[in-house]
């Protein structure tokens, strides 16, 4: 029977009621007394020298409090927006790390680069005044295409005249070359991983509020990780010590990675509020979000797969150019390297893998982590080239994968990871059953009778989640630790307040974390409160990204609970006049083993706060414990997805008729929430595969800069999904045995969709199509293939 509480139960979310009644409290819902409003004048040129910014007229406009430019930032001596990860390239040299000023100084480097900020009594006045700012710029040639960035002769930064941030490699190149020389079959594939805009539905917002009397700053912001913002902004940009700076991220309307990063606007409002002695609020509109939120993906790759005659993989080589955009965003350098190159073994026993990544500066919006971050790019590359290989060798796409599955764990890959556990046959078997793989030919024939082309595409992904062991990422260039912190405060009457560093912005932590604590302490979930998002309330935290909340944040909670129970045992031993070693904690009671003597959790809690009869010589009163959990390894969720499409050859329109997903997330705390995470990931992956494309023109203008041209997946574009979470192989190295589920859907689905479309078009001789598979692209591909076939 399904559980109705605790770990494994599909508990309904406690956070829902406030959202459903319109009582969510998002940053833009908040206003501070005497607040001012900031409007940011952003560059309309992709690359230009900033000759002068005349703010005189704007400063005199109605309601204007002050106008700030890069000159003010320079004079105040503020630091730039820092990068949190330093890559060392293949020659042992550090990556190029040019400064990223809060407001442009001397030059603008992308459309959207902030030039000036008008702070006024209201938004309308700020925006009106911004039009009076006279900006004199001299356009420079825009660097847009990564493939020509090295030779174009125009440098985004003086520090990198060839626009190369780093040239990095991983894996044994010689071994790979040797394997290629001996291969019976080599498949090559050039592909583009399209640039995306994360588009959480809540646009970013920040309010800076300086309290002069206390000399204390508060930043209200739309962030996935308020402590990281406090650390980066306080230490590197504004020189505000932690005890003078509170960062509070209340309800946040989706993040998907783009709200991890520290943004210039956060630093600006915080600093400006102290200059003006008034709160300063900035709210992005959607158009502004398109040119100021960090984008995702944007790789151009050449991949090669070497096989023996039976289809055993011998080696994989990948040569990727990754777009950094105009500045290095917080985690940007790590995405195409340590979160991409390391994933190129996938679920397969490929003995040699070599990957080269050149990160390029361009005059485009910075690119950083977006749902999956590097792992979708790796999975797309690998799962596409495997299907192309299967097509070339006349093998079944599932069969070729099975020939190469890893089946023995732990398994050390040739690209630096050690998979602890997994069962790839299980998820592949399950998805083939769910999708009725065997019945495909009959369905294809039925589609053909209606003039439609049907295709089926498989993708078997693995991801490295639960980011990550601090010592490991430190050796790889991370400038922060990646542990998580939790405090368990047991209140005198036995209710529990949990302070966690994992921010919740849709994931439902307030529900799932309570399930975990409820199970561990044997008390009802309604006795447990989950607190997150406020640096003044929570000891520390590294935040929510990389599917890490439960695996790392949840583990920290478990560790803190363990400490509470350990102390409780000492108290109980005293109360029960028994040896501490005889006390067991089960079902919410401290019991003397082998007797009926017991004290309830709440009784012991009360004793801790009313220590009349208490081992005061031995332990302190109170019952509150903090734990920091640093994972020993990544976790490795994996799964298999099958997508079935129908293509209308006359219009090029692709319809997803079915999408089945079987995932191994290890243990599952709340299956309802896990399925919801997969659904959302699938929609974003399908969005990338079919609809979304942040297209720039050759002048560096973002052509798809609003929902009028950037196609967001709507309900009509998607089917109902067929999602099952496999029994699973629990993670071996965290206390909950969980692996993380937030990114899987976005990682596994793009290649499944594209493989299905290519399968549908294979009779035309099509063996690849780039994302997104829009009607235009599919129709054009069919036309070109038909012309080619006719000529042959």
């Amino acid at each position: 029977m399904a559980k109705d509480s605790g770990i494994g139960a599909a508990v309904k979310r406690r956070e829902d009621a406030r959202f459903l009644k319109g009582r969510g409290r998002y940053t833009d819902d908040m206003n501070r007394p005497n607040q001012t409003y900031a409007y940011i004048l952003r560059s309309w040129s992709a690359h230009a020298t900033l000759n002068s910014v005349d703010t005189e007229a704007a400063s005199a406009a109605p309601g204007v409090v002050r106008v700030f430019t890069g000159k003010d930032i320079e004079e105040a001596g503020l630091g730039g927006v820092p990068c949190g990860w330093e890559i060392t390239d293949k020659h042992g040299e550090k990556m190029k790390e040019p400064p990223h000023p809060i407001l442009a100084i001397g030059k603008v480097r992308h459309v959207g680069d902030p030039i000036a900020v008008v702070v006024a009594e209201n938004y309308q006045q700020a925006r009106d005044a911004a039009e009076m700012i006279d900006v004199d710029m001299t356009d420079l040639p825009a660097v847009v295409d990564m493939r020509t960035a090295e030779t174009i002769g125009s440098a985004v930064h003086d520090e990198a005249t060839d626009n190369l941030c780093y040239d990095w490699e991983l894996g044994d190149g010689e071994a790979a070359d040797k394997a290629f020389a001996e291969a019976a079959h080599i498949t090559t594939l050039e592909l583009i991983n399209n640039r995306l805009v994360a588009n959480p539905m809540e646009p970013r917002c920040a309010i800076g509020d300086y309290d002069e009397d206390a000399d204390h700053y508060t930043l209200y912001t739309t962030s996935q990780n308020p402590h990281v913002i406090r650390l980066l902004m306080g230490a590197f940009v504004l020189s505000i010590p932690e005890h003078k700076l509170r960062v509070y991220a209340p309800d946040v309307g989706g993040g998907f990675g783009t709200k991890i990063f520290h943004y210039a606007e956060e630093a600006f409002v915080t600093w400006a509020s102290a200059q003006l002695k008034r709160p300063v609020k900035w709210t992005s509109d959607r158009s502004e979000a398109f040119i100021s939120d960090a984008h995702g993906r944007d790789h151009v790759t050449k991949a090669e797969l070497a096989m023996d005659a039976e289809g055993k993989f011998l080696a994989l080589r990948a040569d990727t150019r990754a777009n950094m955009g105009a500045y290095l965003s917080t985690f940007a350098p790590s995405i195409p390297t340590w979160l991409h190159g390391t994933l190129l073994a996938g679920q397969y026993l490929t003995p040699a893998v070599h990957v080269r990544v050149r990160a390029m500066f361009t005059n485009t919006v910075p690119v950083d982590a977006y749902r999956g971050a590097g792992r979708p790019e790796a999975t797309y590359l690998l799962e596409r080239i495997i299907n192309k290989a299967a097509q070339e060798m006349g093998m079944d796409q599932a069969e070729l994968r099975r020939k190469n599955f890893i089946r023995s764990f732990p398994y050390a890959t040739p690209v630096a990871l050690e998979y602890d556990t997994g069962d790839y046959d299980a998820t592949l078997d399950a998805v083939m059953e769910m999708a009725d793989y065997k019945g495909f030919e009959a369905r294809k024939a039925e589609s053909a009778s209606r003039g439609k082309l049907r295709g089926i595409g498989l993708s078997c992904y693995i991801e490295a989640c639960g980011i990550a062991p601090s010592s490991l990422v430190g050796s790889l260039g991370a400038r922060a630790g990646l542990y998580e912190a939790a405090t368990i405060r047991v209140n005198p009457t036995g209710s529990v307040t949990v302070m966690t560093g994992s921010h919740s912005h849709g994931q439902g932590h307030e529900t799932t974390f309570a399930q975990v604590v409820s199970d561990a302490l044997g008390i009802p979930a309604d006795q447990i409160e989950i607190v997150h998002g406020d640096t003044d309330k929570i000891p520390f935290g590294m935040g929510t990204y990389g599917s890490r909340s439960l695996a790392v944040g949840g583990s920290a909670i478990v560790k803190a609970v363990d400490k509470v129970v350990a102390k409780g045992k000492k108290i109980a031993a005293h109360l029960l006049e028994a040896a501490e070693s005889d006390i067991v904690f089960e079902d919410g009671h401290y019991k003397v083993a082998g007797t009926d003597k017991a004290k309830a959790f709440a009784e012991v809690s009360l004793a801790a706060y009313v220590p009349h009869n208490y081992p005061i010589e031995e332990i302190e009163p109170g019952l509150e414990e903090t734990a920091f959990y640093d994972p020993k390894n990544f976790t490795y969720p994996a799964g298999s997805y099958l997508c079935e499409v129908e293509v209308d050859p006359e219009t090029g329109k692709v319809e997803i008729v079915a999408l089945s997903a079987s995932d191994d997330f290890g243990n599952v705390v709340n299956p309802m929430i896990v399925e919801g995470q997969v659904h959302g990931g699938l929609a974003q992956g399908i969005g990338q595969a079919m609809l979304e494309n942040a297209t720039y023109d050759e002048h560096g203008q973002l052509v798809a800069g609003s929902y009028m041209d950037y196609a967001m997946p709507l309900a009509v574009d998607l089917p109902s999904f067929n999602v099952e979470t496999a029994e699973g192989t629990p993670c071996t190295h965290n206390p909950l045995g969980v692996k993380g589920c937030g990114e899987a859907g976005a990682i596994g689905s793009p290649p499944a969709v594209v493989n299905a479309v290519v399968d549908a078009l294979k009779d035309y001789g099509v063996d690849h199509i780039d994302m997104p598979v829009t009607p235009l692209r599919v129709w054009t591909t069919i036309q070109n293939a038909s012309v080619k076939q006719a000529a042959e």
Binding site: Q124, D128, V703, Y707, D709, A711, M712, Q783
Partner: protein, 265 residues
């Protein structure tokens, strides 16, 4: 948005008076205009909201004509049995504009006056040979649309109603632009009482909505999907953007026309 005054007159003469103000701008349902204002792409001195004028609303049958008041919303058209009983293609068209919220506010008059090259209604007006009635005169649809966002309307001239001849049969085949969900290339096809077939195409033309003479001739002679195959639809004059090349649009004109014929066969 820039600052402007706002007025919502309840009768047409007051609206026309207000529109005489320098920099005045008329607004139907505002579903296209308000987003434009939000982007600060337009700076009216006064916005004259026509949605309070009851006389501009309503649908009525007059002999072999269907008359739709300019202020009638897309939702009202889509839900009207008078419309579906007379011009099924218009029901389809109105029900495919935007989304339910846009259909609750957007009006036929606003759509025609704006003449967005990707709007749905202009194709129906052209294909059905509608007459655009204004506070000053009547304008034949063939004369009304004059290029992108350009119409025969003069300063202070307001559309009051649209008179559609009732065809024998009609249909609207929409192919959406993947992001905006406007028409990428859509075809309104009407079989008229005199036996002629008229084909209105929206979303495709670099100069906006148009009729396709070649398709009309071929289908008037032989109302069959196969008749479309023999017609040359040139990519010349088709617009080019992120979502479609001129060649793709030319293809879609044929495909959507064929589907329209099939839908009526």
């Amino acid at each position: 948005m820039y600052s402007f005054d706002y007025t919502k007159p309840t009768d047409l003469s007051a609206a026309v008076d207000s529109l005489g103000t320098e920099g005045a701008q008329a607004m139907g349902g505002g579903q296209t205009l308000i987003p434009v204002l939000k982007q600060r792409l337009s700076q009216p001195s006064i916005l004259v909201d026509l949605s309070g004028i009851e006389s501009l609303k309503g649908i009525r049958r007059m002999g072999d004509m269907l008359v739709i008041g300019a202020g009638t919303t897309h939702g009202a058209v889509a839900g009207s049995s008078d419309v579906s009983g007379a011009i099924a293609g218009l029901t389809e068209l109105a029900g495919k504009i935007g989304d339910p919220q846009v259909r609750n506010r957007g009006t036929i008059g606003g759509s025609l006056a704006n003449n967005d090259p990707a709007a749905c209604y202009p194709s129906a007006a052209l294909a059905l040979g509608a007459t655009i009635e204004t506070n000053k005169r009547e304008i034949a649809a063939d004369d009304f649309f004059q290029g992108l966002y350009a119409t025969a309307l003069e300063e202070g001239e307001v559309i009051t109603a649209v008179k559609f001849p009732i065809p024998v049969a009609s249909t609207y085949q929409k192919f959406e632009q993947p992001a905006s969900r406007f028409s990428l290339t859509s075809v309104f096809l009407a079989k008229m009482a005199d036996g002629s077939v008229r084909v209105g195409v929206t979303g495709a033309g670099a100069d906006g909505v148009f009729r396709h003479a070649g398709l009309e001739q071929a289908l008037s002679a032989n109302f069959a999907a196969s008749a479309v195959d023999g017609v040359e639809v040139s990519a010349e004059g088709m617009s080019n953007d992120l979502h479609a090349t001129p060649e793709f649009r030319a293809n879609l004109v044929k495909v959507m026309t064929k589907r329209a014929v099939e839908a009526l066969s």
